[in-house]
């Protein structure tokens, strides 16, 4: 047991087991609305082949990308300001802690009420979910700066500006990047909820439409595709993060 199989073999077995159970449950069937793994896979391939999946993603990605870009710029800026200034910290930390803990999806209906059913509401849904973790990670990154390095900078006649640029920001960069990754993960949740809740567009439209015409393999294929897409994107960012910020050089603190 101890020396037999390499880790990726265990991962393959794990996947095979899950898909096997899924196939079995679909064929049984436990519900008419539950397609088997093979049916779902075929549906996925046909949606890729006829271009409907690509078309849906083009629509879905638009508010996601805009929302993440906005959250990143504003969130990192705000988090850094909170970390550097006590008054900004006192003013906003309680709000940010509440926002991070609150089930923000609950305010999406409110966004629809104010901003209608267009792109704005969907972008805001992404922003509302993604920005708290981006702000908090940037803030913690700044606050975690090593006091001994700051003292060293002062001892060698560094100005406050040099202290920020040469010590505090490089020190915080790993945690800020981790915040962006977690923010993107939240953004995926935000956009799917928005597309299901506000008006069905993109991938949300594929899910709702196929569900309404009882084409369950297609509906499941759409769901599976967004799960795979989000997981791969987040995983790629995680690898990039490890490459850019090796743990022995930066980022001894864990994200979150």
């Amino acid at each position: 047991m101890h020396r037999s199989l390499p880790p990726f073999a265990w991962q393959l077995i794990s996947f095979a087991l899950v898909f096997g159970i899924w196939e079995f449950a679909g064929r049984w069937p436990i519900s008419l609305a539950f397609p088997s793994f093979s049916q779902t896979l075929l549906a996925l391939f046909s949606m890729i082949a006829d271009g409907s999946l690509a078309k849906a993603y083009l629509i879905t990605l638009q508010p996601l990308v805009i929302g993440i870009a906005l959250s990143s710029i504003a969130g990192i800026g705000f988090g850094i300001a909170m970390g550097l200034s006590r008054s900004v910290e006192w003013f906003s930390l309680p709000v940010m802690i509440v926002l991070q803990a609150a089930p923000m999806a609950a305010i999406i209906p409110l966004l629809t009420y104010i901003y209608g059913i267009g792109l704005t509401s969907k972008v805001l849904a992404v922003v509302v979910l993604a920005s708290p973790v981006i702000v908090m990670n940037s803030y913690k990154g700044i606050r975690n700066a090593n006091p001994s390095l700051i003292e060293m900078c002062r001892a060698f006649l560094g100005t406050r500006q040099q202290e920020i640029v040469k010590i505090i920001l490089p020190h915080a960069s790993a945690l800020i990047f981790a915040g962006l990754r977690l923010g993107l993960a939240m953004g995926f949740i935000g956009i799917v909820i928005a597309e299901l809740l506000i008006t069905p567009t993109g991938i949300g439209d594929l899910i709702t439409y196929n569900s309404s015409v009882a084409d369950y393999p297609n509906m499941f294929a759409a769901i599976v595709s967004i799960i795979i897409f989000a997981a791969l994107t987040i995983h790629a960012l995680e690898r990039l993060e490890r490459k850019l910020f090796p743990p022995e050089i930066r980022g001894l603190e864990n994200a979150r």
Binding site: F156, G158, Q162
Partner: protein
């Protein structure tokens, strides 16, 4: 006060927020070109005193004068060597050693040339592009020392620089430090809790007593360092007597 005092400490007291009294009424004159040690048990405020001299901590009362000027912050004539090395983990040895000059706005080529010279001096040649995590504790502190030498300060303030270095490395480092500083004619203030280290390295030992930190005694050791090789010092009668004398004094505070 000696005529050649480069550092004068006048009536320094320090009470931290929360009422902890770290230092009370310290008067001290430290001569130029010598290695003086601040020695005492933990809690005697020796590091606090060193950081006040460095201008990193403001005193609650009193003044420090360095080269005839009142201290109100760090200055170019003082360089600091930290107990925990305080190296940039994302910087190479070269960048770390040149960091003091980088902060002063010296051009890259120039500061790296100066830094290389001091990297060789502390025995780290060929480690210029290594990162701190790839070095041993002793080597990291050599980087810290080279960084202090690079800014060419007259006074080098060392805060327990060998405390996180193993015993063998420490002995070798001490010998090399003596050798290096003798040639440089720097004034060194060295903080330690090791009696042997203090007597081995310094011309003048300031004994501090704890809670609050006060000067208990100043001891001049008359060890002739010019002729003797470093190995001999540890067997010198003067050395052994001084170690014993200091232990007799410090014993009552432990």
């Amino acid at each position: 006060m000696p005529a050649n005092a480069i550092i004068e400490v006048k009536g320094i007291s320090k009470t931290y927020e929360g009422g902890v009294e770290a230092l009370a009424g310290i008067d001290l004159a430290l001569p130029q070109g010598m290695l003086s040690t601040l020695l005492g048990p933990s809690g005697c405020g020796k590091t606090t005193l060193l950081k006040i001299i460095a201008g990193l901590i403001p005193p609650s009362q009193g003044e420090v004068w360095v080269k005839g000027q009142k201290v109100d912050g760090p200055g170019p004539e003082r360089a600091f060597v930290f107990q925990d090395f305080a190296l940039l983990p994302w910087g190479s040895v070269l960048r770390n050693v040149a960091f003091g000059l980088e902060l002063r706005g010296v051009a890259k080529d120039e500061r790296e040339q100066i830094a290389r010279k001091h990297i060789h001096e502390v025995g780290l040649k060929s480690f210029e592009s290594s990162y701190p995590h790839q070095l041993s504790g002793g080597m990291r502190q050599r980087v810290g020392l080279a960084r202090a030498l690079t800014v060419d300060a007259d006074i080098i303030l060392m805060d327990e620089p060998f405390s996180s270095v193993d015993e063998q490395t420490r002995r070798k480092f001490q010998e090399e430090l003596l050798d290096l500083l003798r040639h440089k004619k720097k004034t060194v203030i060295f903080v330690t809790h090791s009696i042997e280290e203090a007597v081995y390295l310094s011309d003048r030992i300031v004994l501090l007593s704890p809670r609050p930190g006060k000067i208990s005694q100043i001891i001049e050791s008359n060890i002739d360092r010019q002729d003797e090789n470093p190995e001999e010092i540890r067997r010198d009668k003067n050395y052994l007597d001084t170690v014993d004398r200091i232990w007799q004094i410090l014993k009552q505070y432990v």
